[in-house]
């Protein structure tokens, strides 16, 4: 290992080059800040938006009318609506059309058929809020834009730890994974924007246990921001409220609302009350609001549940195929074609996927700043606002802009404590290197974590949590940590990265154990057998949790949801 750690510095550091990260970097650079963006893989094709998306949540006054209130209500009633500070949601909606227009300018087809078109994810008779666009080239287009603004993109450079001192955030430690030997790099910055996406691979894949990369969202997104911010004392919020996505069985893939069909029982009856015939305008929103249906029907024997597109018109089936390409579902399309599965004739079984963290995580204020001054967050890892692609794009922009403004008034942090700290942290990670034939690898660590999460912080439906289960599970998590420390060794930088991902996921699990214990009620898929009711007094409150970096004490705070 080299003695000196390579170093980069800039006004603003962006961690993660997905949708939120690229948008933050562009906005910060436009404000005149120098910006480095550290990305685990390559921003051209990384994260959950890697090969496309097709529904962009937004408010377009010329289409929706001057009153934003009905649109706000639609967002809060939608599948992304559970955990929102409404001032954030309103700010998002207000700035969303501007971002839509910018994307269009930058070469992403936001109105591929001429006009702004809202399709799918909709209740009949209610306003439609998901703009249908063609996002197949969104990552290369945003990458090109960021480069043209002067953003320095550092690919294959995952961030492994955040660095803070008395004066606040001062940068991050990252690990260059291009070569077989990992090389640590220090990224010094005045402000930092976290944008590492959702957290997957914490629970075993519901359909294909053991195939841990068969996830609906990108399995390279492993809760880095939540874990790293937790370690330096930031507030996390709503971590205990599970989220489960749904989609085709057994190939896990998000994008369910691009399918245009009716969900049905095996006897042909529709599952939900919304439509009997699906059109591109509405689709069947049952799956957005009752996605536990697929589990319910399996466990009570009434299933399986199917998505049936055989009643969909040929024009709409063609539209669906087009949409799937923009949505990045080309691997799925290729498979359907290869196996001659024609969705117009064959009903496809759907299932509920394992829990993951999306819209659960860092608490932000109206400008995207976390509880730690100078540390910002945007995208899937935020816990008090969720808007998926649109949310990531718009709040990424808000956070990046604000991070640049704040950096303008700050001086560059000097090394001091950071030098000692980065040496300790890099040596700690490097101590896992050197695999012998008798050692456990990172996979064993990941599978062991799956077991503990599946059993002790289980998510509904039909699975419960309780004080005794949580207490036992927390102890087992600590035992696993000790075992990993002792027994896991890895061969190269790639494997070390996978191990660090598991360590981050374990920190996320730890947070869930704490906050699930504190939430003494049942809410959504957080089902407490010892508190089996939903407490209305908690309905307008959020649970914040943080850990003191000094004495590791965990503290909780209930606060009112902001309006």
């Amino acid at each position: 290992m080299k003695e000196d750690i390579r170093e980069y510095s800039a006004d603003v550091l962006v961690v993660g080059g997905g949708i939120a990260g690229l948008m933050a970097a562009i906005a910060a650079a436009e404000e005149g800040a120098s910006v480095i963006l550290a990305e685990k893989a390559n921003t051209k094709r990384s994260g959950s938006g890697a090969t496309g998306n097709d529904h962009f949540l937004c408010y377009i006054p010329e289409k929706h009318g001057a009153d934003m209130q009905p649109i706000l209500r639609e967002v809060l009633d939608s599948m992304v609506g559970l955990c929102h500070d409404k001032d954030n949601t309103r700010r998002f909606l207000q700035e969303s059309f501007e971002v839509v227009q910018l994307w269009n300018e930058w070469g992403i087809a936001m109105r591929p058929h001429g006009d702004w078109e809202f399709m799918g994810h909709a209740f009949p008779g209610r306003p439609r809020v998901w703009l249908k666009y063609d996002g197949h080239n969104q990552k290369p287009a945003l990458t090109a834009k960021a480069k043209s603004c002067g953003v320095e993109i550092l690919n294959h450079l995952p961030v492994v730890d955040l660095c803070s001192d008395e004066s606040g955030i001062c940068g991050a430690l990252a690990m260059d994974v291009r070569g077989d030997d990992p090389e640590f790099v220090f990224l010094r910055a005045k402000t930092v924007v976290l944008a590492t996406g959702s957290a997957n691979r914490m629970y075993s894949p519901a359909g294909t246990p053991g195939w841990m990369f068969n996830t609906a969202f990108c399995p390279s997104c492993t809760g880095a921001a939540q874990a790293q911010a937790w370690r330096i004392g930031a507030n996390l919020v709503n971590m205990e409220l599970p989220n489960r996505h749904a989609g085709p069985k057994y190939f896990s893939r998000a994008g369910k609302s691009t399918w245009i069909g009716v969900y049905r029982y095996p006897d042909g009856r529709p599952l939900g009350p919304f439509v009997t015939e699906a059109t591109k305008e509405y689709g069947d929103i049952t799956c957005d609001v009752w996605n536990s249906a697929f589990t319910d029907l399996m466990l009570d024997g009434r299933g399986p549940a199917y998505l049936d597109c055989s009643g969909t018109s040929p024009e709409d089936l063609e539209y669906m195929r087009w949409g799937m390409r923009g949505e990045g579902l080309t691997a799925l399309l290729d498979y359907l074609d290869e196996k001659k599965i024609d969705p117009g004739k064959r009903a496809v079984e759907f299932m509920q996927y394992e829990p993951h963290l999306i819209g659960r995580g860092l608490e932000i204020d109206i400008d995207g700043q976390t509880s730690l001054p100078g540390l910002f967050a945007a995208g899937d890892m935020v816990g008090n606002f969720r808007g998926d692609i649109g949310g990531a794009a718009v709040y990424g922009r808000i956070a990046g802009r604000q991070a640049a403004r704040l950096a303008g008034g700050r001086s560059m942090p000097t090394s001091g404590a950071a030098a000692e700290w980065r040496k300790n942290r890099s040596e700690y990670y490097l101590s896992y290197l050197g695999q012998g034939s008798h050692d456990a690898g990172w996979r064993e660590a990941n599978l062991a974590l799956h077991q503990i999460c599946n059993d002790y912080i289980a998510a509904g439906p039909h699975r419960v949590r309780s004080a005794t289960l949580l207490k036992a599970g927390m102890e087992y998590l600590e035992q696993l940590r000790a075992n990993i420390r002792q027994e896991v060794r890895v061969a190269n930088s790639h494997e070390l990265l996978r191990l660090i991902e598991v360590l981050d996921l374990m920190d996320c699990a730890e947070v869930i154990f704490h906050s699930a214990g504190e939430r003494k009620e049942t809410r959504g898929m957080h089902i407490r057998s010892d508190f089996s009711f939903t407490n209305p007094l908690l309905s307008d409150k959020f649970l914040l949790v943080c850990k003191s970096p000094q004495n590791s004490e965990v503290s909780f705070k209930w606060r009112s949801i902001r309006n």
Binding site: S46, C218, R264, Y306, S310
Partner: protein, 78 residues
């Protein structure tokens, strides 16, 4: 394992290894022109490598457990 490279078509440009979000490939031109599929079981099946390869040299093989369950829609009746 998942991505399969046709060595006849591959020109060794290294793009697939550069852009794969899961870093499934390893490309060391001094060892071999065609990238090695080193971590095939970590493939997310995002299709980026298939879409971006200018030679059409890559195809994906979905593992058997990923089969998409389906039935004749006409069967869905009481």
């Amino acid at each position: 394992m998942p991505p399969v490279i046709d060595t006849e078509k591959c020109i060794g440009c290294g793009l697939c290894a550069e852009i794969c979000p899961m870093m499934v490939f390893r490309h060391k031109p001094e060892e071999s022109d065609t990238p090695q599929v080193l971590y095939g079981d970590e493939c997310w099946h995002c299709n980026a490598c298939v879409l971006d390869c200018s030679q059409g040299a890559i195809r994906l093989r979905l593992p058997l457990p990923y089969m998409i369950l389906n039935t004749d829609a006409a069967n869905l009746k009481g």
